[in-house]
Each structure stands twice: as structure tokens, then as C-alpha cells.
Symmetry: C2
């Protein structure tokens, strides 16, 4: 069945993201997905193309419940299955009979739970194969497409605000909570897929689909183990030539691998092999979940730098020193400033300011001229600006009606002065200040909250650009 029938990799996934009509098998009156998903889909505008199925029939949230898939009217092309695991194989038969060829199985209780579950998954696959179905899952929460507000999992409304980042996750719970939190970190998505046990559709097909997806500029992926290592390397190599793929891979240690085996039934294999796959294919590996998220934010908003020469402007010397250490450890260099840049900053800086890189402007108020000088310096490829302000000062300005934007003089103009150079802000301290700063600079310039991670992410962006340039 898989990738057979002459269909090109990932070409037939479209109905998962853009269904004409959706059958929900397992709608229920009791708490759980079967209860909340119909409500969520209707709220998202799918009420007229949504068909609920439960043998009990009747009504749910004022919508008719059909007693069988066969009884569903219209021309649905996608089924979402949330019935107990044992009922899945016969339900797949009903779905096949009804002419539906795309199915998302959200139910758990398959290969991740031991021998009995393995058998059940084999039975389900056998039925699906007989009908030529494409299946996402089981043991997942399906897909999200923000463009048409189609989501087979209820997420917070803001998570459906369209953006350039696609998410691939193996696990349903993880994918769900990740989506719930991303918008609060300034990250908005194009599409999301949770793959679960991957009895059919796998990460390679989805990667290939997302490569061709015009709404997606960056792909972030949480992976426990690949279904096919060689295919993964080939697919990543193709995709990363066009779009960055950011990967967080667990199962680095033996204990971690045991954990994933009992979770999505993945055999995660040796980490050295994966490391080689990612390196050879130009994928970018994140060291932690927080790094993955910060990477997605920076990669989706900033250009690829021409080189590894970092300029740092900071209102805290200590944070500048911490960022400098981490930058050098990540392979970046902090070059001396161009004489012309030094003159420009000296002209407006107080006498006590040391005009060098990192450029510690302290409380001088020369923050924006300093960033501007760095951005325009021909010897600098990318700029990190560390903007912090004591609460007392922030509070005083707020009381006088002076906004962070007024005070720092942050103009979107800076981003335009050198559109080819990545520009990242970092801030810590009072959360109110950090939030105001984030709003003031707008979505084009990410505001991160760890100086060390900010420079590591910038180093990853440089390395990705370098690899991509060498490979094209």
C-alpha cells in the first residue's frame, strides 16, 4: 500500500488538510474528544461539512448523529476515528465501504501498548490496505491547517492564527500542548501533523508535502525514531535545500529509547546514526525543546547571514559578556568594529562608554544609534541587541505615558536598513517590560529571553545558510 501505486511521495495527503467533508466516527455525549471536537470544528466554521457518527444516533450539540458511516449524506472525503481501539478495524471497513480514502485514527491502544495492540494495529492496517486508504495515526490528534481553520484537535483559538511554521510531532499530547503554547511565544503556524504510531503516513511523506506547501517557510519536527533512516536522509536533503527543517530528536540515550518504545511504538535506534543523517542532510538539530521553539521563531523571521561575524549591543554589560561567551563557544566571532562605525557611535555616546564589540551602552539612551551602527557596519553579518531596563525606570516612563517604543526609539526602519542581516533582540527582567518590548518591535524582530540561547540559535542560522549555499 505505502508509497505504492505510482503516487509520488506525499502527493496524496491533500484531503487530510483540505477535506471537502469530514465524518467524525465516535461522537459522544460523555467528556472527551468525541464530545468537544464537534463543538470545536463547528466553531472553526466546519459545521456544514461535518457529519457525526455513533450507533446510538440522536443529536449532539444540536447536530444530527448518524447511526452508521453508511448513513452519512453528502460527499465526505475524510474520516476522523475516535472509537475504542478494538472497534477500529470494523469501522475502517465501514469507512472504506462509504468510499472515503483518507482516515485519521486518533484512538490509542495499539502498538504502543504491547503484543495485543500490535496485533490490533496489524488488523487495522490490513483493512486499510484492502481499501487503498491513507491513514494518519493511530494514537495521535491528527492535523491542523490554519489557512482554512481545519483542526482535528481542539487548540486555543490563537493557535489557529496563520503563520509560516509547520509542526510535525509524533505524539498527540505533545503536539497538542506545543500548539497551545507556541502563539504565546510569538510563533504562528501554517500546518501541524501528529503522526502517532505511523501505521501508514510517516514523517518523510509529510516533509515532502510541506516542502511543496506554499504556506510553509520553516518546518519544526519532534521525532522519536524514523520509519526508514535512508529515506529520511534523502527526504531531508531534498527539503532542506528549500526550507530549513529544525529537529528535536529524543532517544539519545538507551533509557530514552526505552521510553519512546513504550510511547509511540518507535524503535529509535542509535543516536550516532541520526546525528549523521541530520548532518549529511542539512537538517538543524535542536538541543532542547526551548531551543527548537526559539529556532523556529528566528529561522522564520530572519534572513540567512552572509557570515559568522556577530555584533552585540547591550544595555547590560553582564548579559553582553554571557552572550559573547556563548557566541564564541557556538562558532561565531565578534569582530572589531569598523572605524567609521566607531566614529558614529562616539559622536553620540557619553565619554564613559567603551565603543567596542560587544557594545555596552549602559543607561546612555544610545541604544538605537548603537544597533543602527552595528547593522550598517560592513564587517558585521548579524546583530544581537540585549535590551533590559530596571523596573523602576520602566515604571517611571509608564507613569509619564512614555512607551517602550518611545523610549528605545525602536523603529521598524532598523530592520529595513540591512534586510540581509539577521537582527534578534533579547530581554530579561520584569515580564511587563519584556512583553511591552515584544509588542514595540513587532513580529519582524524576535525577542528571546535567554542571551545564551539567542546566540546559539543565530549560530545555527549561520551554519544552515552555509551548508545550504555549499549544497546548491
Amino acid at each position: 500500500m505505502r508509497k505504492g501505486k505510482g503516487v509520488e511521495l506525499g502527493m496524496d495527503l491533500e484531503p487530510f488538510f483540505k477535506p471537502k467533508g469530514v465524518v467524525l466516527v465516535g461522537a459522544r455525549r460523555s467528556p472527551g474528544f468525541g464530545f468537544i471536537l464537534p463543538l470545536a470544528l463547528r466553531r472553526q466554521g466546519w459545521g456544514d461539512r461535518l457529519f457525526l457518527v455513533n450507533p446510538a444516533g440522536g443529536e449532539l450539540h444540536g447536530m444530527p448523529v448518524h447511526e452508521s458511516v453508511a448513513a452519512v449524506p453528502g460527499d465526505p472525503d475524510l474520516a476522523v476515528v475516535i472509537v475504542p481501539a478494538a472497534a477500529v478495524p470494523p469501522v475502517l471497513d465501514e469507512i472504506g465501504e462509504r468510499g472515503i480514502r483518507h482516515v485519521i485514527i486518533e484512538s490509542a491502544g495499539f502498538a504502543e501498548t504491547g503484543q495485543e495492540g500490535v496485533e490490533l494495529q496489524r488488523a487495522a492496517r490490513e483493512v486499510a490496505g484492502r481499501w487503498g486508504m491513507r491513514v494518519i495515526g493511530p494514537n495521535c490528534v491528527g492535523v491542523v491547517n490554519t489557512a482554512n481553520r481545519f483542526s482535528t484537535v481542539e487548540v486555543v483559538d490563537e493557535a489557529l492564527c496563520p503563520g509560516p511554521v509547520a509542526v510535525i510531532a509524533q505524539s498527540g499530547v505533545f503536539g497538542n500542548i506545543l500548539l497551545d503554547g507556541l502563539h504565546q511565544k510569538g510563533l504562528f503556524i501554517s500546518k501541524a501533523v501528529t503522526l502517532g504510531n505511523r501505521m501508514d503516513v510517516d514523517e518523510c511523506e509529510v516533509l515532502e508535502y510541506l516542502r511543496r506547501d506554499p504556506d510553509t517557510r520553516v518546518i519544526m519536527m519532534y521525532l522519536e525514531g524514523a520509519a526508514d533512516g535512508r529515506l529520511l536522509r534523502e527526504t531531508l536533503a531534498r527539503v532542506t535545500r528549500e526550507k530549513p527543517v529544525l529537529v528535536l530528536k529524543s532517544g539519545r540515550t538507551q533509557a530514552g529509547r526505552r521510553a519512546t518504545a513504550s510511547h509511540t511504538g518507535s524503535m529509535s535506534g542509535e543516536d550516532d546514526l541520526y546525528e549523521a543523517v541530520f548532518r549529511q542532510s542539512g537538517a538543524v538539530r535542536a538541543r532542547s525543546l526551548e531551543e527548537l521553539v526559539d529556532m523556529a521563531r528566528v529561522f522564520s523571521t530572519q534572513p540567512r547571514p552572509a557570515g559568522n561575524r556577530l555584533g552585540v549591543a547591550t544595555s547590560s554589560g553582564s548579559l553582553g559578556a554571557l552572550a559573547t561567551d556563548a557566541a564564541v563557544e557556538s562558532g561565531l566571532v565578534l569582530p572589531d568594529l569598523d572605524p567609521a562605525s566607531i566614529d558614529r557611535v562616539r559622536a553620540i555616546a557619553p565619554r564613559w562608554m567603551n565603543v567596542r564589540n560587544p557594545l555596552d551602552v549602559g543607561p546612555s539612551g544610545a541604544f538605537i544609534p548603537a544597533i543602527t551602527a552595528l547593522v550598517e557596519d560592513p564587517g558585521i553579518d548579524m546583530v544581537l541587541s540585549i535590551a533590559v531596563m530596571p523596573y523602576a525606570v520602566f515604571h517611571e516612563f509608564k507613569e509619564r505615558g512614555v512607551s517602550v517604543r518611545d523610549f528605545l526609539g525602536i523603529a521598524s526602519g532598523i530592520r529595513d536598513k540591512a534586510p540581509e542581516k539577521p537582527l534578534v533582540l533579547c530581554s530579561i527582567g520584569d515580564e511587563g517590560f519584556v512583553r511591552d518590548l515584544d509588542e514595540a518591535v513587532g513580529p519582524e524582530v524576535p525577542v528571546l529571553t535567554s542571551p545564551e540561547r539567542a546566540v546559539r540559535v543565530m549560530a545555527a542560522l549561520w551554519r544552515y545558510g552555509k551548508t545550504r549555499a555549499e549544497r546548491v
Copy 2:
């Protein structure tokens, strides 16, 4: 002058934290510290022991401004100096003449700014030495003592809520913004000191003072360079026998060292030497600012574990796998569970649940029994609980008036079942859920937001306990 006169290290710092009366030299009507600090000190209850000085005289915020230090009434024993750098030496003379022997110089423009500043700092030290003064600074924001609400820097009110953690920072801005943000991360402090250029009082004296401070249980320190490496090692070795000292040290790279030299005039030296100092003395080194903060939260609330055997309970298998990888990489082990624990969990777990370590409870609702079983397992020394919940579920519970506490059944009783075992929670996803969880579990159990960092911090706690046991 320094540590001379037979005074034991750090014994004569008391008036910095518990002054009888404070002279503020450099009170002003224009924006800045000279304007806001009198207001802040009065709000904190120091109005009756605060004496403002400015040659212009008159009134400020309704308080009299004295024309000279000599004109100040009463019996003040601490002076805070915020006049321009060039005016500091003569002001120190005035202060000495008035019989005051403890001085905080907040003014910048000394050794951190080049040769002229170095000369000025030498002149100031000469005057202070002549009067036998103890001096904190220059180029700092002084001290905070939450017990008596004395603070020579305006911080957000919540930062003055007393807690067990002392903060030592070199830089003023950094110390200030750190204090502004810590309470939002659930961290409350006993005392804080920003040392600035350390023309007299240094980190060793403060460490020794904090060792004897009954309000301080944990010391966190940001250090750019030590004044005296051998003294630092000896002091740390003595202090860490009684209280953990958590250190974030910049200047690991040459570029980072150059950055600190122009910032607080520190010569930060070779990192290998510092690494040896910290290792030999039992200090705990943080790899990033976020790790330092998380360490302080865990070290100040959790007991030292008897061993490195970690139990993990999680409602997301993926996050459990990520934590497991990081735990093993940090030197922890995830042992098999005790047969009795397995039986206890099996008795209440659904059939699909794999009862092992890490223990993935999924959406079973068996979260609290799982944590309880781990906490009581004789083969487990410490427990990490990863509690996440999809927003949709959280939202549904909220609508029905069910709190996170009700749902997870989090009882403070768990903490009491094995008071000798560290217990840490971790959560990500919707910020509202994370906040509610934090409130539900209370201050005794820290809620961290990175599974990887959580286990690294627990590994550091185990290593500190081990080193301390071996050294006593």
C-alpha cells in the same frame, strides 16, 4: 585597609544591610536614581531615618535636603553616594568627617572607563582608606535586605518579599533587572549585593557574611572575575559546607573576558582556573542564566537526595523521553521500579499503560497515584513529575469550575510522604495552565518549564549533596 585591623572576613558588613540611619548624597530633582531612590526608601519605611544631601538644599518629595553631609542631624551610619564620579573623593572626605564608616558608591565612571577612571578610583580608595571606611562599589546599585525592607535600589515591590536566596552580582544593571524578574519565577530573596568595581568589599567578604546570615539558605552569584582566586577557593570551600553556592561565571572565552574588562574593570582570567576553583571548593556552576535561576529555586526548596536514582512520571510520553535523555546525559539513572510500586500503579492504571520508569500516565488521571508510588519507591531517590494538559481539557475543567488542584488532586501530602526526596514539577503549553499548576502545588514544589533543564538541575543537586557529604 582591606581585611586589616584584625577584623574577621565579612564581620563588619552589618551596617550595609541594617543601617541605623542613611545619608543619601546626590538627591536631585531631575530624573534618575537621585530622584526616585528617596521616594522608594520612604515607601519602604525608611523616611524617618533617611537624610538627603545636595548643595542646593531646599526640599525633595516634601523631605528636607541638607546642603552638606556635615549638616545632617542624628546618628546615620551608612552613606549612599550617587554624585558624578569626579565629585566622589571630596564627598568621601565629608562623609568621613561626619563619622560615617560604611559607604555605597553607586556612581559610575571609574576603573571601568579607562585610565582617567582608574586614577579617580585610586583617589577615592585613598580617601576611604584614610578614614578606615568600608566601601561597596563604585559602579553598582548597592544592597537589598528584605527582612527590614532596606534597599538602595528601587525594585518592584514583590522583590522585597522575604525568601531564602541571597544574590551576589557584580554589575548594577544586571543585579537590578535580575531582582525585578526573580519573584515572577517564584524566587524570593533574603539579601542582595551588587559589587560593581569592588574597590574595597569583594565577593569573598560577602560570601562569608552570607554564610553566617540566618535568613540565607542558598547563595546565587554572578561573577565576572575574582579579586583573589586563592581566597575565593578557600572561602567557597568553607561556605559550601553549610550552604550551596550557585555560580554563573562569564569570561569563559577571550572575547567574553574582553567584554568584562570594559564593564566592571574585572580581569577575569583563564576559565580553566575558575573551573578548578569551583570544583575543588564544592561550588555549583550554572551553564546559563536560566539554569542559575532554576537551580536557586530547586536548591532552596528541595532536600539533598541520597543518590542519583530518578523516577519520572509524565502525562506526555515525548516530554518523558526528552527528560530521560537529559537525565542520563547528566549522570542520573532511571532504575526499574520496585515490584510493590508496579503492583500499586497497575491496580489503578488502565490496561494500556506501561508501568515502568519513566512512567507515562497519559490522560489516565492516574497522575497523583503514579507520583506517590514513585516518591515511596525505596529504589528512587528523587522524582520529576511532568504535568501537561491540552488547553481544551483545561478550558473544559475551568468552565465547570474544576481547578487544576481538584483535577490533578495535588495534595501537599505528597511532599510529606518522603521529605528526604527532592520533588520537582515541570510543565509547558498554555501559560494559564502552567500558572494555575504553580499556584496549586504551592511554593514547596518548584514548577519548572524545561524538562531538560529540570533534570540537569536535579543532577546538580545530587552532585552537590554528594560532594558535601564527602567533604564534611
